[in-house]
Every structure is written in C-alpha cells, then in structure tokens.
Symmetry: C2
Subunit: 141 residues, 2 copies
C-alpha cells in the first residue's frame, strides 16, 4: 500500500486534507522509520518536493503528532525528533555514549495501570525516554 493510500483516509476521517507537503513528509517518516529532526525531514522531503518550506515542516510534524500519525520524542538535547507512528514503544538512552535502545510498551503496562488508579488520570501517550548508563559505560565508572 502506498503512503497516499494509507494515510489519506486517516486524515480525511478527521476532516483534514491530504496535501503534497504532508504526503512528502509522511513518505520520509514512513520510509526512514527512525527518529528524525525537523531539519532532517526538511532536507529529505524538499528533495522530492521543491518549494517546501521549513515552516511547513514544523507545522506539519506537529499536526501529524496531534493526529496520531507521527510520534514526537525528546532524546535529551531539548529538541523534538519525530517518527512514523507504528508499534508503541519507549527508549533507553545512555548519558555517556548516547547509545539508544527500544523498550516494549508491555514493560510499562503495569506502571500505567498503577499511575491511572493512583491519580484518576487516563494515560494516553507513550513514547518516553529514560536516561541512564549503558552496560558498557558502567564499566568506566
């Protein structure tokens, strides 16, 4: 299934329009699969779609995140990165070497239930980054 076929209905269902800009950006996120910064997205997407502006990239990434097609994350430097929304997961990141690994959401299920019953909140988002020292970097401590 093409990106257009996959994502257009999702936007329409929510009353939004598919545009060449949104499609180009979704395409980049979809096929990279990794966390990308807005300027990385701009870089790649504007190769396919000349005339695309950074303003639009910022706005579109935020829009896609709000509507569940992309997920934002903080990896520790104070800037957002984005990835296409697929399976729920979280991250562990090493403060020293920067190594990153994924954590299945299942590991956090219990915590989510506990937080919900302790607070009355219903937790919606998942894509948390926890910081620490990777096995390698612990040795040199």
């Amino acid at each position: 299934m093409s990106c257009a076929e996959e994502y257009t209905p999702q936007l329409r269902a929510r009353g939004y329009r598919m545009t060449s800009q949104r499609l180009a950006i979704l395409h980049v996120l979809h096929h990279s699969g990794k966390h990308l910064t807005p300027s990385q997205v701009y870089e790649k997407a504007s190769r396919k779609l000349g005339g695309l502006t950074e303003t639009t990239v910022y706005r579109t990434l935020e829009f896609l995140a709000e509507n569940g097609l992309a997920r934002p994350a903080h990896m520790g430097n104070g800037h957002f990165v984005y990835e296409i929304a697929r399976h729920e997961h979280h991250h562990l990141k090493c403060r020293i070497c920067g190594d990153e690994m994924e954590v299945k959401h299942a590991l956090l299920e219990k915590l989510y239930r506990k937080l919900e019953s302790a607070s009355g909140y219903r937790l919606t988002d998942s894509h948390v980054t926890f910081f620490g020292l990777c096995p390698n970097c612990q040795k040199g401590e």
Copy 2:
C-alpha cells in the same frame, strides 16, 4: 540556611566557582519551587542582578542541571523548564486542560528495576512527564 551557604560548597566540591549570576539564578529557582522557563528565570533573576544576560541564563541552567542542582523537564511543548533539585518525582499532565500533578518516584521504582534487569542499563535520571486526560476532562469525552 541561605542559598549561598547551601549551594556554594556543592559547586566548589566539583571544582566550579560560585558567581553572582549563578547565585541569583539558584535563588530564583529555590524560592519559586516551580518549573520555570529560561525566560521566566531571566525575568526574575535580572531584577535582582542587573546586567545578567539571557545567554548566561541558558548556560547556567544547563550547567546546574548537569551538576545535579537543577532538574530539567519537558512539559509537552518541546521546551525545557527547570526547577531546583529536591525530592525525586515525576509528572502527569492533562493533554486537554493542561493540569499537572506530581507523582512520587516510589511508584516508578519497580519499573526502574524491571527496565534495568531487562536492559543492563543503570537508570540515573528521574523527572519524567506522562501525558493523559485528567479526571475532569475524561467526562467531556
């Protein structure tokens, strides 16, 4: 105990100097107790210490965070806020009304142990924000 008496030794112990700028910023964080944006810190601190620059505020907040005297957090808009480092805690934030509440770190202890044994990482930081819907906003869904 004054801010100077409390924080100067902590910096000295790590080989750093106490300065009027650092003291003014620590004073603001200490007495506000809340999460503050860099520009809120600048606003308040420069009232006490004319000539303070925003550059220095940014650099100092990052410095204090690296050295454990302040804690950075993301509250959902992609920008850092900072608070004085006291007890370990996390946050729950409502996506709709913006309401925020604290969560004791004790509630996350089990998860931290689980993540550590599953990954080999040693988790160091704590000050995570989880997002969801507060009890009030769940009604209007």
